[in-house]
Amino acid sequence: MTEEIIIAGFGGQGVLSMGKILAYSGIMQDQEVSWMPSYGPEMRGGTANVTVILSDERISSPYLKVFDTAIILNQQSMDKFEESVKPGGILLYEPNGISQHPTRTDINIYQIDGNKISTEMGNKKIFNMVVLGAYLKIKPTVELNNVIEGLKKSLPERYHHLIPLNEEAITKGMNSVKLYTIENQVC
Amino acid sequence: MNVLDIIKPENQVFCKSKLMTDNTLSYCPGCGHGTAHNLTMEVIDEMGISEDTIGVAPVGCSVLAYDFMNIDITQAAHGRAPAVATAIARTWPEKYVFTYQGDGDLAAIGTAETIHACNRGENIVIIFVNNGIYGMTGGQMAPTTLEGMKSSTSPYGREIESMGSPLKMTELVANLPGVHYVTRQAVHTHKHARKAKKAIKKAFENTRLKKGLSFIEIVSNCNSGWKMTPLESNIWMEENMFPYFPLGDIKVNGVLK
């Protein structure tokens, strides 16, 4: 099994750490992983994205142009990455701030309202965990307990008390993801 | 009187200088680089010297100055702007040549070029934006980082013992006979910005009069590097930077204050 994912959004949305937790989770279940961020001054208040690969085999190129899954968190990233999903692949997105919804019909498109859910939960910072939950629901590439292990590994000890909250966010995300069909769209 | 009655072309008293391009500044919200850029261009515009002005912008957050300042600019290697400007001023003695440098650029890697351009008294203006950090590369310690101040390469705060004291480059160059005018300014409030603008104007006047080198330090914020909001950073700057880097003129007309 190889899963090639791009996660893309604004700098502050926790894109990189979501990727990192995913990668750590992969390690917990003995997979090969790679995590490759975009970097540089364009990050300054701008976009951030990271390519994560989980695989049972040695990973060759950590840098990809097409993906099994794209997790998209703002319009700029939608413009850039909608076309990069492999036919039959998955596009998961957060609809807030999206003006041009995806239009491809050869891929599976999902929505998760991470903003709303995290606000409801009273902690904007777990936004990315909600989105992660949604992804794991669609594609359980890593098991939940491994994600929790991954969290433990990636968070410094002093933040471990936050793990239950994160777990809750992931579960919320799992329960809230919905399929998006072109018809769904309000015209 | 209705607001719309006021907002008429004939009533306009402030707008962006035409020497600034339409490109959105790449700086973080509230970064003093933007204000310093604008003030500089306003001075050049008001003096009517834009056709004879050549800017030199080395590496640092302001490396893209040429995207924003609508004048001729050459981008210089990290730390070498004073050398680049020296050559331009020497081969075009009638032009106005200025450098726009960060504290990492001017006071770390560029120390020799700074000292020697100052010592030779090149007929140029150096605008030195001291934000106590390497902004562009992600907030590493600069020579001007304050004692105890955290940065990505002094994550537990600058330790004088191992990292040295914050360097007062401005006071240092003021000792050199070739330097004609040295001042330290800020741009985060209207009062400071207006004073800074006057200082910049004086500096370019010095160039016109072939007085030699004018050196303007602008103590500024780097909210990204300091990990604060812009307003927090400005307060922190007043409380911490200004006592160590006191504002005001240091050398005027070749005479130390």
Partner: protein
Amino acid sequence: MSELKLMKGNEALAEAAIRAGVDAYFGYPITPQSEVIEYLMTERPEDRTGMVVLQAESEIAAINMVYGAASTGKKVLTSSSSPGISLKLEGISYLAGAELPAVIVNVVRGGPGLGTIQPSQADYFQSVKGGGHGDYKLYVLAPASVQEMADFVEDAFDIAFKYRAPVLILSDGLIGQMMEKVFLKDQQERLTDEEVIKRHDSWAVTGKTNRERNIITSLDLQSEKMEARVRRLMKKYEQMEKEDLRYEEYQTEDAEYLFVAYGSSARIAQKAVQLARAKGIKAGLLRPITLFPYPKQVLFDLADQVKGILSVELNAGQMVEDVRLSVEHKVPVEHFGRTGGIIHTPEEVLEALELKIINNECIRHH
């Protein structure tokens, strides 16, 4: 026992340096490798092992600090990226000339000039042919994974001290910035000052005791002496070629076409091999792990087996010269590469093979 972590290449290198018992790091920030010094400063290796970490005022100061510590027999490391490495070249030439052990890391970005901060392999010539002045070479290790970023630190120091010569780890923004699993070795004890003196008392400047004074210099005003020095250096390089060549082959046993690629390009070319095989094209990959010494003989031999060779590099054509020199014109050798920080895709690489080698071959044969 080793520890498993998920780390950036730059961080893995820094952590490995602490664990390898490196005595000192001197560096100056530059993208895409600032994580090396940032990680070190955060880890406070001064407390962990007594390792010295200092942010220098410039790359030139840093390389000359390396020269200083290396003069005394200490294990010393620096890292930078392309423009910063250019500034270090005088110092690197001095290290080579004075026969000092040291490890230099270049996390390459796109040049020339200020260029771009994206990954690149455009410093191959500079690294392998001698960027600085004079007759010298660097032993050059090209990691292709985060694991190798970690492992090569110790390997590099082993070579550096074996030959008393500077070693370059030639990485790039891709390998430096990506995270992968990495197995970290256990902490090695740093040598005590007494051990350093004991080991290196024949040459290192640690204070003249009951022996002849030690002198570190690259100067020989007499040409005869200088020529002898150059000959000594050349001997070392020959020995490196014999004893310390490293490379890796991937699906070359039955390959009819060969990619040659190192570092991040090798990762991509490896995938291109898979794509090619899926298409029925018998492709293979030779990955030079050391760029000097270069796997000349391996390539020379492989050239008897394959029909054509594509050198895949993130540059405008540099290593291809070494491929050509090795192959001695037995089969066609072409170059493919993207520049300026663009990373070629496996698909592009395969397409280039088809276009430049396979199809051309048809043209040639008919």
